[in-house]
Amino acid sequence: MRVLFAVSSWPGHYYPMVPLGWALQAAGHDVRVACTPGQHAAVSAAGLTPVPVLDGMDMVFLTRLRYLWDAQAGHWPYPWQPLHPVTGQEVAGLRDFDFDSYVAAHTATTFGAMIRSFDAAVRLARDWRPDLVVHDPLAVEGALAAAAVKVPAVTHLWGPVGTHEPAATGLQIVPEYPAGTFARWKVGSLGPDAVTHVVDVCPPALAPPTTATRLPVRFVPYNGPGAGPPGDDRPAGRPRVCVVWGTSTTAMSGPRSFALPDIVTALAGLDVEVVVTATAEDLDRLGPLPRGVRGVERCPLRLVLPGCSAVVHHGGAGCTMTAVDAGVPQLGVSFAIEQALNAERVAAAGAGAHLPGHLAGVDTVRAAVTDLLDKPAYAAAARALREDARARPTPADLVSTLAGLAGRP
């Protein structure tokens, strides 16, 4: 069969789909990935075939906008202000950026790009005639393309956050569009309630809230290309703790979210070996590292975690799920609602802890990691979570389910 993937402009959003792409290809099916030109390289480097025809708003802008909206709706636990979507500076007041007047001034660039992207997705689906579309929660182009050619669409979740989060969280990852948005393609409303099937990568303890039918799958980590850390795989003597930092946390959450220096200081005070993997830029900003701390540039997390006794990260779904797969207790230091939810759910399962960013200082991080290392309950819960995660059907197993859904068994 032919399966069209549609992905939003952020590798972290679609890396969880990559192993399913491999599974489909390895079973002899055709896969094409509709993406923006900016994702061409990352999609090809994952071994998939990009069709770089999508367009749309910049993901950093969109994410900052979402955080600002969250804050305007009262869902912002941090003692500082979110960033201005355009300038990237903290806003002085929450009403400093008015989306409606921004749109009025930039209609052609914002909506023009969106309409071009929608058009391109529908054109691609009409030309290539997929039997099924799989898309990440933010890539509405996938849902639209599937509806336009009347084939099933499946939303591929990236972790513990679902399509229908409790209202109190204020989080909605599947965007909603005004009525009539898709009329020119003869498609009705698309949004959380239009999602009929989700690929759910989480073990039951982390199950993302959704009203859609779940297609359970095991999360197989793919964190981008790269080699493992240099040196021996096994730590010598002292426990090894990994610190991994989001590639864009600062751009999206502001300079105050750069918690790496405090985390490193906290861990350097413990009798542990520390491996920090981050972007070259973030490693530079960190400056000279204390004894016992090693920095490696952008190492795929799945290749660093074997042999680690704990991991500290920013709560991103990719880090969270990779740590679940590795069975390593984790501390999430979060700077956004979604990251906070990921970390809360892992903590509720007993496999980790959560520190909201503004509460994460040297002492609190050190205390939290000491707990993870010293209390065997964390390691036991992380192992149990890993067992549950690994008992799920593999992406290879999911292929026949998808073929059935597409009517091509």
Partner: protein
């Protein structure tokens, strides 16, 4: 289970293993690919985890070195001089001190080979794979598996097998340093290989010893997107694809694209011509109806093509087999010659020695591919046979039966 793959220094040797690598990962298994540092980027951009610890044996260097021996034996078939292994400049075999050069070359080859053997054995000891996959020329995987007492599975890249009669096909590397016996691993010969993944449909079956694991060839020709192309029109579309390593191995005379393009200009066809940026200048002015493209994975170009002309490389040949496209091979190396001959025997293509192929012969051969239903029928039959083979996803289950791991 944990699988280690070892690969030799040439992407075309291991690209056919890539879909099996995806299949392993998608079934939840661990996979690492031990390679030379020079191959790490190509392994990573296939989506796989590279372990760049092997020695560096450049295949262009090896081919040029082998050509010098051919020339000494009077078996260099081309009307131009072979190339110096390092500089790539033409060499006059009557004055070149091959014995002196071979001293240095053999030391270099032995050193790199030892590096590979030691690294593969060492990595296997540390990472403890349950099984090792290796391409036909990556003997380090075979040796490491024998030393560790785990199963090894060879993976072919096309119709040339491990048990070929013709020595010029180099079915297996030569164990110059006698590393296999030194490690108590017997001899490096076809019998040392107990399991072979064979991606060829019957009709192209490569000669092997041991147990054959049938697999469907799935094309992976490196990263990239399909070019935007209008649908094929009234004229048949013919794709011309040429490896630029042909001239690096065999000399400038082995760049046949201008001759092929001129031959096709005499037919009423549309030509798709993906080219490497370095080769653009050599093409000069192109006839009408030639569509110049940036390089793109071949399997994305072939749908809609009525024929394909190439240098006989296994990747091109197998991709065309999968697509059911009749093919003309214009080979230079011995392996490419064998592939061209085997395709011709299966009826799905034609082969003419590259240096002898005249413009008229190329034109007539392509005309024959386009107008004789026998060729398109044979190509379609071969594609159908190929597509009915077990997929890489199926082969994962076969590999699992060879180990005790889960």
């Amino acid at each position: 289970m944990r699988i280690l793959a070892t690969v030799s220094g040439w992407p075309a040797h291991y690209f056919p293993m890539v879909p099996l690598g995806w299949a392993l990962r998608a079934a939840g298994h661990e996979l690492r690919v031990a390679c030379a540092p020079g191959q790490a980027a190509a392994v990573r951009t296939a989506g796989l985890a590279a372990v760049p610890v092997l020695g560096e044996l450049d295949m262009v260097y090896m081919a040029r070195f082998a050509n010098l021996w051919l020339a000494r034996a009077g078996a260099w078939p081309y009307p131009w001089a072979p190339l110096h292994p390092e500089t790539g400049e033409p060499v006059d075999p009557s004055t070149f001190d091959l014995d002196g050069y071979a001293e240095t070359a053999k030391r270099h080859i032995a050193r790199q080979t030892e590096t590979s053997f030691d690294a593969a054995i060492g990595y296997t000891r540390r990472w403890r794979p349950d099984l090792i996959l290796h391409d036909r020329l990556s003997a380090e995987g075979l040796l490491a598996a024998k030393v560790a007492g785990i199963p090894a599975v060879a993976h072919l890249w096309g119709p040339v097998g491990t048990d070929e009669r013709a020595a010029e096909l180099y079915p297996l590397p030569v164990d110059y340093t006698r590393a296999f016996p030194r490690h108590g691993a017997g001899m490096l010969d076809a019998d040392a290989i107990t399991h072979v993944v064979d991606p060829c449909p019957s009709g192209l079956t490569p000669p092997v010893r041991g147990i054959r694991i049938d697999m469907r060839y799935l094309p992976y020709n490196g990263p990239g997107a399909a070019p935007e192309l209008p649908p094929a029109g009234r004229r048949p579309r013919v794709c011309v694809v040429w490896s630029n390593s042909m001239s690096r191995m065999y000399g400038r005379g082995a760049y046949l694209v201008p001759r092929i393009v001129a031959a096709l200009a005499e037919l009423d066809v549309e030509v798709l011509l993906p080219v490497h940026p370095d080769d653009r200048a050599a093409l000069g002015e192109l006839p009408p109806r030639v569509r110049l493209l940036d390089q793109a994975p071949l399997h994305l170009l072939l749908p809609g093509c009525a024929a394909v002309v190439h240098h006989g490389g296994a990747g091109c040949a197998m991709t065309a087999v999968d697509a059911g496209t009749p093919q003309l091979a214009l080979p230079f190396g011995p392996e490419q010659r064998a592939i061209g001959a085997r395709l011709a025997a299966a009826g799905a293509g034609l082969g003419i020695a590259g240096h002898e192929a005249t413009r008229a012969q190329i034109r007539d051969a392509v005309q024959a591919l386009l107008s004789t239903p026998r060729h398109s029928a044979a190509a379609a039959e071969l594609a159908a046979a190929s597509r009915s083979r077990p997929t890489p996803a199926d082969v994962v289950r076969v590999l699992a039966t060879l180990t005790t791991a889960t």
